[in-house]
Symmetry: C2
Subunit: 146 residues, 2 copies
């Protein structure tokens, strides 16, 4: 599943967006895909996870996805972990840590710290090297172009 | 502006949704409106604030809304304060406190605790009585119907 999320991240990179990709899966079946599209859609909420969750809720025809797992190449931010909690996702598997803005262990630990009414199982560092390398490559190219 | 947000909240209530409404305004001009539409849109991210921010970014034709204020009838959750930070909104004015899930002072204080790269000016309890009464009325009616 993380390979599919990485493919979404690569599509984001090709479009000039920060390369993050996400997949929502239920029992091995993909029900939502998303990639970072903030610039393309002119939408500050258009993170990979949000778009994948929105698609999954449409496909699943329910806004509670309590049997689903979200796979994402980068540790989700506060907004996205908040969305994961609202969608009642069972678990979160992510690639690279985001030490500056991550909300699944780095800066905040929303969804595990017991302050909200839903807890998520969190599995960090799934294919972390490939996820990190893609982000490094993107930022190196952007600095080179600047 | 909070009166307009309350009108949005009333529209949500008429549709059977938890009554929360939001307005994004720049220099006294409304650029985004939203009401809670989670059930209608089958979208766990369709909170009033998210929809108002998405509309404002479209209208403003930019995903950075750094001159804007968000007015919302209820203290925003983690997801919505995260979205406010991403959109770089200057300030947040809200009505009722949400002691169970609020992320602008109650459970979390995202956007003011200095952990992220953007700070928001927060003004709580704007027309708080009317905002609280609307929510009470909704939950009382729902309990009565159950």
């Amino acid at each position: 599943m993380m390979t599919h999320a990485l493919a979404e991240a690569e599509r984001a990179m090709d479009a000039g967006e920060v390369p993050v990709g996400a997949i929502v899966a239920v029992e091995g079946r993909i029900v939502g895909r998303g990639r970072n599209r903030v610039i393309e859609l002119c939408d500050p909420t258009a993170h990979a996870e949000i778009l994948a969750i929105r698609e999954a809720a449409r496909v699943w025809n329910g806004y509670r996805l309590d049997q689903a797992t979200l796979y994402v190449t980068l540790e989700p931010c506060v907004m996205c972990v908040g969305a994961i909690v609202h969608a009642r996702l069972a678990s979160l598997k992510f690639g690279a840590w985001d030490e500056k803005a991550g909300a699944a262990g780095s800066v905040y630990d929303v969804g595990r710290d017991g302050r909200l009414n839903h807890r998520i199982e969190v599995y960090p560092q799934i294919m972390a090297d490939r996820c990190t390398n893609l982000l490094r490559e993107f930022f190196r190219a952007r600095r080179g172009a600047a």
